[in-house]
Symmetry: C2
Subunit: 259 residues, 2 copies
């Protein structure tokens, strides 16, 4: 995220600055007025007034009087409206709940967002091991089943843009080169689903399939996840077919899964 915003048609500079503050706080956790002013290259009185507006609406809050600021719960309220409207329009939760019951694991929906995976809805399965809140989390594309599904059908320049900055080994089976990833994505296109078997985290397994828009393009990914002790390689193809079937029910929705 660039700190200086190049003026473009129709944008409002002070609104852009206020949103940049939210993005800085999302990355840093907490910041003071002086630090925010430095990041935005504005005077600290400017930063103080922008923070004041965000504070008044609950989008930021002060950690202590005359101290540092952090993101506020007003954002949780607004995000709740987003996830509710995802369901209102697509009816996705009926499908995701049925899938969670059928396979007994956590189910999520994710989209591609700034070349990373963003989890936008979640239904948890009965497992204790998978008690984890993915909603709102952002993860890399190369080591997640959702990321593979969201990128496999992109053109090559776009697939390359979505690759990680570094190929560190995050888990026993992390893909660590562009070549290996291209072969993996070719297989995803052939099978119609993706698997991540202990690639982002040890013991963590996910199976994902594409949710397509009316133009048959991949708009989102439907994914089930759980521990390796329960999701074994011999089951991957049957699970893949099940997830594909559920994702197909969510595909073809006009005016929804658009980026």
């Amino acid at each position: 995220m660039g700190n200086t915003h190049i003026a473009e048609s129709g944008s409002v500079q002070s609104v852009d600055r206020a949103i940049a503050i939210l993005e800085i706080l999302a990355q840093r956790g907490e910041s003071g007025v002086t630090q925010i002013a430095a990041d935005l290259a504005v005077h600290k009185s400017t930063a103080s007034r922008l923070m004041s507006s965000l504070l008044a609406h609950g989008l930021v809050e002060q950690v202590s009087d005359r101290g540092r600021y952090r993101l506020g719960l007003g954002l949780v309220r607004l995000a709740g409206a987003v996830t509710s409207s995802l369901d209102v329009v697509s009816g996705s939760r009926a499908v995701t709940r049925a899938l969670a019951i059928q396979v007994g694991e956590t189910v999520n929906i994710a989209v591609l967002d700034n070349n990373r995976v963003l989890y936008v809805d979640q239904v948890m399965g009965p497992s204790m091991v998978s008690m984890r809140s993915w909603l709102g989390q952002s993860v890399p594309t190369h080591c997640t089943a959702t990321g593979k599904v969201l990128t496999a059908w992109l053109d090559k320049p776009s697939r390359i843009a979505a690759r990680p900055d570094s190929w560190g080994k995050l888990a026993p089976n992390t893909i660590t080169s562009g070549e290996a990833l291209e072969k993996e994505l070719a297989q995803v296109r052939e099978l119609g689903y993706a698997v991540a078997y202990q690639e982002m985290e040890a013991d963590f397994v996910a199976v994902a399939a594409p949710i397509r828009d009316v133009h048959d393009e991949v708009a989102a990914a439907l994914v089930i996840s759980g521990p390796a002790s329960r999701l074994k390689p011999k089951d991957f193809d049957s699970l893949g077919q099940i997830v594909k079937a559920s994702a197909a029910k969510l595909s073809g929705n006009p005016n929804y899964w658009r980026e």
Copy 2:
């Protein structure tokens, strides 16, 4: 939420307007530029430019070209940073996961927000029936265990301000008068926990206890919930004691659960 913003020291009018747009879209689902302009009492070119800034940052998106707007997934990303930081600072998820395992039901944390209950974190239990995403949802105070906990220890004018606008019967046991609610809240203060037994929804039961700040004031509520077929009246007191014990572990955290 008033549409006209009375200028106050340190606030930035165009930022206030942009946030007001987000709040309108949260309430309405979708809106057009002309409608937003009318709500804000500004020219539609002003509304169009404000929307353009929000669009550029992903806080809104267009449902279709030259059409209506809705809240964007950028808010889900920002909210994810909020719920992650709740855990980072308070370590609440270790406690909420342990509680979910212990009682086998869904666990949530909620705060009082604009005289309503706002769910800010969630761990789901093993039950299929309780598969429901509360995160970001806002519900009334009088018919929820969390709402009773969040309001019981307020002074009387604040308790009255938190009452619903109407006393409609939402479920078999909905409280339908201020007098009955006052008696209920007195009992909550005495027991140290609250129960909602089929009050907001049929078959839905919740047991909540207060999370207190360093000043011993109620900052948030910890709640377990599930269906009436599993959570029976004879169990309420033991469940209440268990939730109180878990809430106590989350209490006394400086600089966190502040409103």
